[in-house]
Amino acid sequence: MRLPRFDYLGPDTLEEALDLLAVHREDAKILAGGTDLLVRMKKGLLQPKFLISLKALNELSYITQEEDHIKIGARTPLADIIDSDLIKDKAFALSQACEKIGAASIQHFKGTIGGNILQDNRCHHYNQSDFLRSGRQACHKDGGKICYAREDADRCNSTCQSDGATALMALGAGITLATKGGQRQVDLASFYTNDGIMPFACESHELLTEISIPVQGALSAYKRLAYRSAIDYPIVCAGVLLQPPKSQTNDIDEARIVVGAMGRSPLYLAQASSSLKGKKLSDTDAFKNAAELSMNSSAAFAVHNVGATLEYRCAMVSEMVFKALVQAAQSVKE
């Protein structure tokens, strides 16, 4: 498969990259690892005039801890995150999620955490070859007016299948978006728009530079279900975080349950999360209950468009959430 034509721009510094982005805006796309972008370009889903490569921008590849936050550069390869003891120790869910992205040894050296968060939503009917799509009416995401995944849908129902975003949202992460002459911080949960066509609120001249994860001794875990253990998108995934109160370690002060690959963005399930408040870490009945609630709240968002039947995926939500909760609770340090 040939890539469509484009001009390649290789800035040497972040400033240069932001300058280029400010000039070219919609005409340009950022190239980090390329494992998502180049595939979409090959399929003709995207035809940017310019690619701005982050290859020389080593300043965007780092993992550090500053006070009570872990900071990760957006261009950090997934392999570095998997190898990081800091992430394993303080943000276990992210470590687990990154391990599952792509293949153990191949995409991890190219794929970046920033690219994983900013991967486009997917749908069986949309992520197809140019040839297949040319033989039928365009769907919402392709610029048309119909949806193949759900009849009479007035908008796009594509699914966010990012492992990294689901785990990071459970961890309560925030991101930094830089523009020429400025930057803004935004909570990952409010970054997602719940819109299938434009899944996140990222302006065309903004560049994701940093991910920041708060660490307060919380327990976290991530579970996902996919057909193939490598190079496959999840059909259901769940990230959970359990925060024990400062004084003791056996109660749950705050919980966050996030389910991915079900809706247009990772779904933070408030009802299921709050049902765990005040429960003991050993209370598996409470976990079961929260898992059921998760299934009920997330089922409404899913459509049949990423493989496996809808019934199966919905049923597996509770399974993934329950397993993640149990694992998180077991990871408590004595």
Binding site: M1, R2, L3, P4, R5, F6, D7, Y8, G10, L31, G34, T35, L38, V39, K42, K43, L51, S53, K55, A79, G102, A103, A104, S105, I106, Q107, F109, K110, S229, A230, I231
Partner: protein, 177 residues
Amino acid sequence: MEKILITLHINDKPCEVMVYPNDTLLEVLRDELDLTGSKESCGEGVCGSCTIQMDGKPVRSCLTLAMEAQGTRIKTVEGLANEEELSDLQQSFIDHGAVQCGFCTPGMLISADALLNENPRPDKKTIRKALAGNICRCTGYAKIIEAVAHTNNPQESCPDCITGSKTGSKPNKIQGE
């Protein structure tokens, strides 16, 4: 869109080549440099048959722009053998019958080579994980994993290791041209 001159270090040799910005590394290797060992199969990073090593790490050449490969040390399957002599890993693949149609083999060899350089005696679970990104549609993975496991660690209980090059009964050479 114009062609640009870039220098690639492939199998310890510098190569100057004119490329378009939208040429992938795989296209340059195969079409410009005649290194046709790396194969294109899915073209979207799912199958692993185009795997090459960049700075010792396995990478998909079909999803890597040739421009992005400048300044890295590239190793393709052609760089495994030393002139006429196959590497231990390649010989082990032959001995264990780990090659059927051969289309996935260059990718398998490159992924396995990267693993063995880091960990000369990996256990089977590690090998499975390292080869998880490579698909074989012929026969399955048992022979391939065996071949990798026994490369630096021949087993007496394995008939393929005994009749193979490790005991010297087979010529460890490519026969003819």
